[in-house]
Amino acid sequence: MTGALKRGVQGLALVGLAALLGLLIWKVVHQNGNTAARQIATGKTGPAPAFTLPRLRGGGKVSLASLRGKGVVLNFWASWCDPCKAEAPILEKAWRRYQARGLVVVGIDANDVSSDARAFAAKHGLTYMLLHDPGATYSRYGLTGVPETFFVDRRGRLVPIHLAGPVDLAANRAKWAEGIRLALRS
């Protein structure tokens, strides 16, 4: 093989290797990024991960940024999840009680058939905002299952409280009330 051809093949192999390495690094960074759950676990909370998701009912999309100025409860749920049935009335009650004080309850339906989720919402008489997530927001918030709940304050920053499991779980009750209080704080 001539020297030039050899160098060309070696260069091409190096470029290919660098591309594969870059792809691997990109994947690792995006998989283990700074999720909301990790921010809270490490005590370094900042702006809540942004999202724009379709409404479950009625069409249109809603972004988290559009809720700036409100205290936000972000509840991830699915129609097949049993604990979600039990906590849905609690979320509904909180929404009705605190909406005048600037609270927005956002139920994000994840890992679910959207028609099943709509049937669930109708059956339980849910009137709070319901969005559907095809998966990316679930990952960005670092969920390991449903239900899980986060709180976002009026400035769009994560409140350092993360409820893994239903809000009415004994271990979560005090945190649930504290989360709403911190989200509504000016």
Partner: protein, 162 residues
Amino acid sequence: MGGRHPARASLVSVVAAVLALALAFAAPAVASERHPTLNELEGEVMCPICHTTLDQSDSPAAQRIKAYIVRRIRAGDTKSEIKRRLVADFGPGILAEPAKHGFALLAWLLPIGGILVGAVGLGFAAWRWSRSREPAAPALAGGAVLDPELDRRLDDELRRFE
């Protein structure tokens, strides 16, 4: 009109055989697309919670997706339509096989590219190896480098075999 040319006849036979083979494979594929079954879709759709195909999972999420697939089959959806609906609800990760377009196409092309590059590399290495052995043969055949003492001993040895 004369008799059929033998070469043309064999070509026609080959083309007919290839067409028959293609049809044999295409017919079930078309049937599967138009009238999918839960069994085949269970192996092509993932459970988003357990990260296995549906046929490996009995979780509540998997059961809901199976029930949804059955409903869509009864409604007359094709396999592609069902998959499109699932991707709209769950994202592309719901499919066991990566999509054959966009960035996911790399998952199909990279292994094929790797195999091709490997095959070319192996072929080239084999070609180089065979070429590097060629010049050695004439040198030995010419006997220019053979030690006279070794040459004599070889002749003795060979004579013993005669």
